[in-house]
């Protein structure tokens, strides 16, 4: 027995220190490896298929054009099933095993929040987390200086939506139907800010993730006499809410936060969804914005499946653009610090779809404006300019 333990110790001593690490992980002369953690088999798995595909369209375009400073971008995708613990394991794998240069476009608020300790420990930047939670750009939290948020927070979106409603109709009675989790909590934060600044009171109704019946909430909206209802759901909920309201003969103006921007909302809701206004943090994929035109061109060129194309696919595309811009500005000698410095030089930078993005060492929120999109005759149409 002693012999075996001795052997272990000797083996250990011989090999200690043999592991070697590249000076900058994930960067070689020809390649930059980045990591992406998506929900590939959980409740949000639609996005898990679509978002990386969108990003890859842009990466392919860049790679075919010679890459960034001669380096091609390679994206590894892991699954987290919308579970923060799995997200941490996946991040650990990407960072320690696959030695990625940075993490990019990780989906979900709680998975992204759960990554903070690892990011801080390893100094890995997280570019464009795919969540609109305002908490992501909080610089006082761990790894705050490593996370670059591209989207307008839900809290900010709420303030903007309430402003917009009251501007047209000062007597509007506003109600919100929100998902009862971290998403909803961020929405409520914005709602109470709006309440305080406008001196109104907003009727709030909660629902549980995965709910399929909204009769109670819609009934309460009728009782409360809400004339404008903001739905802070994902894709399914606004459809059901609007259909239920139509069935009950209740027709307020419906608004939605950014996750409801998907074009299938109007598709599935049909006539009930006519006039639905959603707050988009980016321009429409089928609009005339410069990025959108290029995007459609590239999609046609690379034969992207038609079902994938849409707002979320486009979202993946433009955040890839932000990342690539940061990599370009980081210069030839790529390190993580240089990437951060490179991104922090962005000043009112126009991506062609996002509102102008500004980063500096004290603010990683990027942007705080949204564009409002209304469903007219079943087609999403931009109705405002950037509002903040």
């Amino acid at each position: 027995m002693k012999k075996i333990i001795g052997l272990f110790i000797m083996l250990g001593l011989v090999f200690v220190g043999c592991g070697k690490q590249a000076p900058t992980p994930g960067v070689t002369d020809t390649e930059i490896i980045i990591g992406n953690i998506q929900d590939l088999s959980g409740p949000m798995k639609e996005l898990g298929a679509v978002l990386p595909s969108g990003s890859n369209v842009y990466f392919r375009y860049i790679n075919e054009a010679g890459g960034v400073h001669g380096r091609k971008i390679k994206m590894l995708v892991e699954d987290h099933q919308y579970n923060p613990q799995k997200a941490v394991v996946a991040a650990k794998k990407l960072i320690e095993k696959d030695q990625v240069f940075c993490l990019y476009h990780v989906i979900g608020t709680s998975p992204c929040e759960a990554l903070r300790p690892i990011l801080a420990e390893t100094g890995t930047p997280l570019i464009a987390p795919a969540t609109q939670s305002g908490t992501m750009s909080d610089m006082t939290r761990p790894a705050g200086n490593l996370i670059f948020h591209t989207d307008t927070g839900y809290d900010k979106q709420m303030v903007i939506l309430v402003d917009y409603i009251l501007k047209d109709n000062a007597n509007a009675k506003i109600g919100i139907i929100y998902q009862d989790d971290d998403y909803g909590e961020n929405v409520l934060k914005g709602a109470s800010e709006a309440e305080a600044s406008q001196g109104i009171s907003i009727q709030k109704e909660a629902y549980q993730r995965g709910a399929t019946d909204f009769a109670g909430q819609v009934g309460n909206m009728i009782k409360g006499g809400a004339t404008h209802v903001i739905i802070a759901g994902v894709v399914k909920e606004p459809i059901i809410v609007m259909k239920t309201a139509a069935a009950m003969g209740y027709s307020p103006k419906f608004f939605g936060t950014s996750p409801t921007m998907d074009h299938r909302v109007s598709l599935a809701a049909g006539p009930a969804g006519e006039g639905f206004i959603s707050a988009n943090f980016a321009n429409l994929w089928n609009s005339d914005a410069s990025s959108a035109v290029k995007y459609r061109e590239l999609c046609a060129q690379y034969e992207v499946p038609k079902a994938y194309m849409g707002m979320y696919h486009f979202y993946g595309y433009i955040t890839a653009k932000v990342l690539v811009e940061g990599l370009k500005r980081a210069g030839k000698n790529l390190t993580r610090e240089r990437l951060i410095n490179g991104l922090e030089t962005l000043n009112k930078w126009d991506s062609g779809a996002f509102p102008p993005i500004t980063y500096n060492s004290k603010d990683h929120a990027g942007t705080e404006s949204v564009i409002l999109v209304q469903v007219k005759d079943g087609v999403q149409t931009v109705i405002t300019d950037w509002i903040d």
Binding site: P43, G48, A49, A206, G210, T212, V235, K236, K243
Partner: protein, 309 residues
Amino acid sequence: MISLFTDISQEVISGIALGSIYALIALGFTLIYKATEVVNFAQGELMMVGAFVNFFFVTQFISSAGESSLWIFFVALIGSIIFAVAFGWILDFVINRPLKDEPIFSVIMATISLSIILRAIVAMIAGPMSLLPVSPFGENVIKIGGIVISILDIFIIGSAIILVSLFYYFFNKTRWGIAMQATSEDPIAAQLMGIPVNRVHALVWIFSAIVATISGILLAPRMSLLDTSMGFLGLKAFPAAVLGGFGSIGGAIVGGIILGVIETVSMGTLSFHFEWIKEINDIIVWIVLIAVLMVKPDGLFGVEKVKKV
């Protein structure tokens, strides 16, 4: 006062519709539990598979016929039920037979892994994008007084009542049904009495798959988008089965409706008038369930098993 009454009756009606869905899923749990004492954790997934198969048939038939009519939905329904029969039989063959003499936990585990497998297979075949389900009833609603109910919900409530009474009759009045009850009480004695236990078990899995398919078909249009996460609804119907008393067919519908009504009323009128109810909205069902179990440990209609010393 009158408006309060209308509000509450509207919520109760919606709750009954929601509860009928729970009841349909709970009925599937109950059937298998009644005959084999197995808790089938894959019941929600069976429903999901049924909904997808039906969706496949409907879209195929519509695209080949060129237009949608009630006939197509009917034929697709028949097709889905035939599929459910085959599917139930296969499940019995794959799960029930190899694990016949094993502890009950093994079978539960097998059903949990089955649910994982089914979700993965359906997702692989159907692709990552969720589908837009089609309903033969469209968005039509009926208005009685101030109360609105959609035709789809009427169908859901109706099929829940019909299926539950059908199985209630079957289990309590027909020879096969009584044989099934005997099988669950004591499989060995039932075998000795000449009841073909294997065939009874296969039949029960088939029934359960059919019920799941029907509930999946009815539920899909309510979900607005069809994807594999529909299977998780099985877990929401679990308390309904338990509240009614596992293994009691009448209990499934009573438990389902009670929970459905509690859910809608607490989300609606109750949380409108009492702010704090919002905090406990998603656990109110569980609080009721635990409270009932504390008083009646075997559910509302469950039968206590007496062990002989």
